[in-house]
């Protein structure tokens, strides 16, 4: 188990290193002089030269990359002259609402998905199965930004049940915060539920066909214990992996959902930064996003190994 975890950590570090190279190259590909962009409209030649040297842009690309990597590793993302704030602060402030939305959607989605997947598998080819799988496919096929608008139209504009937009930190006012989270979390959570419910169903069907399920029935295990103990314990292991794999999709969905509900998260930060050509912020936001995806995948892989005795006990 330890060996497995260590090797996965090693792989993750490798992936992150390549991510850093890709990101560095992407940022160098941006047309225009970054110094000019950073300085805005009014500046002196002296300020230009100073910033250029300060950013290390007068040195070779390799050195630039190493310096850049060094800064990032120390968590120094620099100062945004366009937003007049520390980039790290900006990104951190935007990260919290996004994370909050993603977690709420993850929980809501899983709560919906697992029972519906089980019901669909248990009553395969029945109206229940077709019904829940039909809803699932619509759920993840509906673009989240459009679904959000529909929800606002129905539940805010017409019924007035939930607020249409905004964000309040949970520690500032918990009730208000949850209240405002309902529609965004439903938007994103139903997308996630659709994806996961299908996986739960097919994974469970696959496991129910295996020999050890038949052997457990032959032992006298009842139908309920068969499904909920014997089959589900195995069927949910791949589901955990899928949840991890879909974390990126969830984060991407959050970017769009935030825009609809005017939540001041990573998505809005990034898009705004692109329009103001504040590339330091764009770069930091993307880096943090990718870092989250990679770390979640690492976590999922390790928990997968933990859930799976074949890896936990021997490797």
């Amino acid at each position: 188990m330890t060996r497995f975890a260590l090797s996965r950590v090693g792989q993750t570090v490798g992936v992150l290193w390549i991510v850093s190279v890709i990101l560095f190259v992407l940022m160098r590909l941006i047309p225009g002089d970054p110094v000019l962009i950073m300085l805005g409209d009014e500046f002196t030649d002296e300020a230009y030269r100073q910033l250029r040297a300060q950013l290390g842009l007068d040195r070779s690309l390799l050195i630039q990359y190493l310096v850049w990597l060094g800064n990032i590793l120390r968590g120094e993302f620099g100062y945004s002259y366009i937003s007049h704030a520390s980039v790290a602060d900006l990104v951190f402030q935007a990260y919290v609402p996004t994370l909050w939305l993603v977690i709420a959607s993850l929980i809501l989605g899983t709560i919906i998905a697992i029972p519906s997947g089980i019901v669909a598998a248990m009553r395969k080819d029945s109206a229940w199965d077709y019904g829940s799988m039909g809803v699932a496919i619509v759920g993840f096929s509906m673009p989240s930004f459009w679904k959000g608008i529909l929800l606002i139209w129905i539940f805010s504009v017409h019924l007035g049940w939930f607020p249409a937009m905004g964000y309040v930190a949970p520690w500032a006012d918990f009730r208000e915060s949850m209240w405002k989270l309902v529609l965004p979390a439903v938007t994103l959570g139903t997308f996630f539920a659709g994806l996961v419910a299908r996986i739960v169903r097919s994974s469970l069907l696959e496991v129910l066909d295996l020999d050890y399920i038949k052997a457990a029935r032959a032992k006298g295990v009842g139908q309920a214990a068969l499904v909920y103990r014997h089959a589900l314990a195995n069927a949910l292991i791949p589901v955990v992996t899928v949840i991890g794999l879909q974390f990126g999709a969830l984060l991407g969905g959050a970017v769009l959902t935030e825009t609809v509900f005017t939540i001041p998260g990573m998505g809005r930060l990034t898009v705004a930064a692109i329009t103001t050509r504040d590339y330091q912020v764009v770069q930091a936001a993307i880096l943090v996003g990718v870092l989250s995806v990679v770390l979640v995948n690492l976590l999922v892989d390790i928990s997968y190994a933990f859930l799976n005795p074949k890896i936990r006990v021997t490797a």
């Binding site: 490798g14 991510v19 496919i137 509906m142 930004f145 459009w146 608008i149 969905g253």
Partner: protein, 304 residues
């Protein structure tokens, strides 16, 4: 051997004759179709997809108005007999814009996926067939690319390249390379061990002919399935970019931008957001159902 039941498929630059020859090809397609047609969802998905294709191809004939002309009706008109889907804030006919929007959606979706397919399959073939350091390097880069959420990678690329349909296609396409490379490589690794590949090698056939004539045809089915399933993802991604204002610039009729514009009028004129979204959702649902059907009938590993 995994075959496509006799389907002959174009691959990058090479025509690959699959084993089933003349009479077999038609019969193979017929057999495949009978299995495919058993799933109502798959047939429905195909029908919806074809309807959207017809809409896109014949947009010039089907659209009642020019999609860009302003003031063909009053601004923010509700759906009526004259304007079935109402008008937008510039008084443009929404139905015409939606019909033309299908063009952009399909072009971006299909071309971006083809781009990703060609690049990803090539990388996957090379990595899987040659193995070693090449494999390790390619696949680690793919892992890194895979870590970028598609929409975020596309946002970054749009920031670099600027707006416009071509750039949207490139941005979305790059985001889908990794999944194709992974699927291809995995299957190549399995096929590579088959005795007929070894036989071909012993017969002195070069690596490239082996890859294209013997390996590729045997890994095509899952690639095609991936392709079909990814087109819907590409269309959603394009719509998302456009919704964020990072897609093709106005006044191009794009579903995502229309939905974004309608947000501002959600109280007075909800049709502006809702109706283009229906078109988008139907396209995506149709493609997903069709892709599921393809997967169930073409990809023997995933068949259930």
């Amino acid at each position: 051997m995994r075959t496509l039941d006799g389907l002959t498929v174009e691959s990058p630059g090479v025509t690959v004759p699959t084993p089933a020859a003349e009479p077999g090809a038609a019969a193979g397609i017929g057999r495949w179709w009978r299995r495919f047609a058993r799933s109502k969802g798959a047939v429905f998905g195909l029908a919806v997809f074809l309807a959207i294709v017809v809409m896109a191809v014949f947009a010039g004939v089907l659209a009642p108005y020019d999609p860009l002309t302003q003031g063909v009706g009053a601004p923010l008109e509700k759906p009526s007999l004259a304007h079935w889907a109402g008008t937008d804030s510039f008084g443009r006919d929404m139905l015409s814009r939606i019909i033309y929007g299908a063009r952009i959606a399909l072009i971006v979706g299909i071309v971006a996926v083809l781009l990703a397919l060609v690049a990803g399959v090539t990388l996957g073939l090379v990595a899987g067939y040659y193995g070693g350091v090449l494999d390790a390097v390619i696949m680690r880069v793919m892992d890194a690319l895979f870590a970028f959420p598609i929409i975020i990678l596309a946002i970054a690329m749009m920031a670099i390249m600027g707006f416009g349909v071509t750039n949207v296609i490139i941005a979305v396409g790059v985001g889908f390379i990794a999944p194709f490379a992974r699927v291809t490589r995995g299957d190549v690794l399995a096929v590579k061990e088959e005795p007929y590949i070894e036989a071909a090698r012993l017969a002195g056939i070069g690596n490239l002919p082996i890859i294209f004539r013997h390996v590729l045809p045997n890994v095509l089915a899952p690639i095609i399935v991936q392709g079909a399933l990814r087109v819907s993802g590409a269309i959603i991604t394009e719509a998302g970019l456009s919704f964020l204002g990072l897609g093709p610039p106005p006044p191009t009729p794009v579903w995502g931008s229309m939905i974004a514009e309608g947000r501002n009028f959600i109280v007075m004129a909800p049709h502006i957001s809702t109706i283009p979204g229906v078109a988008l959702m139907l396209t995506v649902v149709g493609l997903n159902l069709f892709g599921d059907g393809l997967r169930d009938t073409l990809d023997p590993r995933l068949r259930r």
